[in-house]
Amino acid sequence: MPLRLEGVTKRYGARTVLDGVSVEVPPGITGLVGPNGAGKSTLVRAILGLVRLAAGSARVYGLDPATVPLAVRRRIGVVPEDDCSVPGLSGVEMVQYAARLSGLPSTEALRRAHEVLDWCDAGQERYREVETLSVGMRQKVAFAAAIVHDPDLVILDEPTNGLDPLERRAMLGRLVALARDHGKTILVSTHVLRDVQSICDRLVLLVRGRVRLAGSIAELTGTDTDELRLRGAGPTARLVACLTAHGVAAREAADGGGVLLRAADTAALHAVWLAAHDAGFAVESLAADRRPLEDVFLAALAAADAADAGRPEDEGRSHAPA
């Protein structure tokens, strides 16, 4: 297991920032989500061995960040949320510098810096000082600096912040490529649930320093049944009757969002189209019935608020809508 946290607790004075966090991050892309102040940044610092834990332990590829932080950091690449650069360095110098700090020889560091910047589509902008670059370009440089030493685990904090839609899609594509084609483990801390749903295999929800939800996206957004949801325009009651007549088990969705049905094979799907035709129902989509991740997120937050109600240290930190 690339990353394993067991009962990780971190306190700053009387304030508990991480409270017994236990989570496993397998290879692939894992989304770390949570409201502001949930403890995501502190968790990343704990993984890097930058903070001393009050209790619990972390293991990165079996290494303990508390005892061998440098060995751990050699296997990690980090893209911080905040702008960070070494004043006076150009984009390519910055990436080369990051590579050299990670132990690459000078010439090799320069070659590798250009290679990853090419992959990030950095263009000639790489020769300008980092402070003068656009937000999107700075994000590319930060990403290139994080992966230049070919780390096994890449941690990204809000990697799509400030990116236009095209660049955002390209950045997410790079993450998927790193995970799928090169077997990297990627931990993405973000607020953008759409990104999490589109690229992540797993999700960890952190609220007030505690893990409230962890599991695969399919598990978390799926329903208990293997139903499909048929959406479109037309009389749903008549559609249900026609589907039943064609031997397909169906019912109207309680939330009013179309019809839920079971279609186990191709013949059943064919019957669905015939039933829709007979009922005069214009089909817009037929897909596995999944809950939006946002609904899962909000439900988990509400559950966390309810569970924490009355805890003195959590007073005034509720996320319930006013």
């Binding site: 930058l50 980090v78 905040d82 004043p87 700090l101 690459l104 589509d121």
Partner: protein
């Protein structure tokens, strides 16, 4: 898509586990030299070396003329270098009739005067230009996120910054002093002078280290305390000037008290007028012709009780001790301890501050 995009490829090399400090130092030096002002100040900082090189040449000329039996005296017309050399030797307590002993004495004192008088002041300027940005700039640009997410620790970071600044300081103190010694050897009558004075390069290195270590650590400690390099620059120069003023005021008060006790002798104010007394090696009435040079060369025999208060004066006395010119423990110990304390406290501040944002 760029022409050279080969996609993402794994890196199969073996990373070095050491050398991060050297990488930080190299980059720090390269970035510092982007400043036009630093390049100008460094160029200017070498100009006193030309004057002192002239002093070495003049002294060796005087030694040579003396060896030939030519009369070399400060009372002669100042129409050749030998005469100036005799003045230098006279001021620094070197007797030309004993050339070997005189050479050791005069060279040591010339080197000390060079490192103490112009270079120590120029060093403060150079450090004030470079040091504040080294760590404060990193804090401002949040560069600590670049450093401390990589396989390097506080020691590597601090060592890298210290090496970067020390290398630049070395260009003002160590390198020109070593060049002066080489010039001295080249203008001397025999290359064997290099062997006879072979301890001087080591003393130069030690004296440069005595200057470099506390100043560099103190300046970096200031830099680590703020993200605004201007504040660190102000603190650096304010410390330098305030210590100097405090030292001057207390020394002046001592001299005034001394003058009040013995108004006829008035030795305290004599010192202010450039007269140096008390060294048995000095000629005639103990008043050397080049009083400022003698003072810079540590020939003042009065005890400076307040030297530990001022970085400049403390370093001067420790350097005089390293060059073998000052040998009184009561004089050397307070400034030596003060410099050690400055270095230690600065080091503690640095270790506590450099990765504080990463730990917060």
């Amino acid at each position: 898509m760029p022409l050279h995009d080969v996609g993402y490829r794994p890196w199969t090399g073996t990373p070095r586990s050491r050398g991060a400090a050297a990488v930080i130092a190299g980059t720090g030096i390269r970035l510092a030299f982007k400043s036009r002002w630093l390049r100008r100040v460094l160029l200017f900082a070498w100009s006193p070396a030309l004057v002192f090189a002239g002093g070495f040449f003049a002294f060796e000329q005087a030694v040579e003329e003396s060896a030939r039996g030519e009369p070399v005296s400060p009372t002669r017309r100042l129409d050749n270098f030998g005469t100036i050399g005799a003045l230098v030797a006279d001021s620094l307590g070197g007797r030309l009739d004993e050339p070997e002993a005189a050479r050791r004495t005069v060279w040591s004192r010339l080197l000390l005067a060079f490192m103490r008088a112009p270079q120590a002041v120029l060093l403060a300027v150079v450090v004030g230009l470079v040091a504040p940005k080294l760590i404060a700039g990193d804090l401002r640009a949040r560069a600590w996120l670049v450093y401390f997410t990589r396989p390097l620790g506080r020691t590597d970071y601090i060592l890298g910054k210290v090496l970067a600044l020390a290398a630049i300081v070395g260009l003002v103190t160590l390198v020109p002093a070593l060049v002066l010694w080489i010039v001295g050897v080249l203008v001397s009558p025999s290359v064997w002078v290099a062997v006879a004075t072979s301890d001087l390069p080591l003393r130069i290195v030690a004296a440069a280290a005595a200057v470099t270590l506390p100043t560099v650590l103190l300046a970096l400690a200031y830099s680590s305390l703020t993200a605004e390099s201007r504040i660190a620059t102000f603190a650096w120069f304010a410390t330098w000037v305030a210590c100097w003023i405090a030292h001057g005021a207390l020394t002046g008060a001592d001299m005034a008290a001394e003058a009040a006790r013995a108004p006829t002798a008035n030795r305290g104010f004599d010192r202010l007028l450039g007269q140096v007394a008390g060294d048995p090696r000095l000629p005639r009435d103990g008043r050397p012709p080049l009083g400022w040079l003698a003072r810079a060369a540590g020939l003042e025999r009065t005890v400076d009780r307040w030297s530990w208060l001022s970085l400049y004066h403390a370093q001067g006395i420790v350097q005089a001790w390293i060059f073998g010119i000052e040998d009184r423990l009561a004089v050397v110990l307070p400034p030596l301890l003060a410099l050690l304390a400055v270095a230690l406290v600065s080091l503690v501040i640095l270790f506590r501050r450099v990765d504080a944002p990463a730990r917060a």
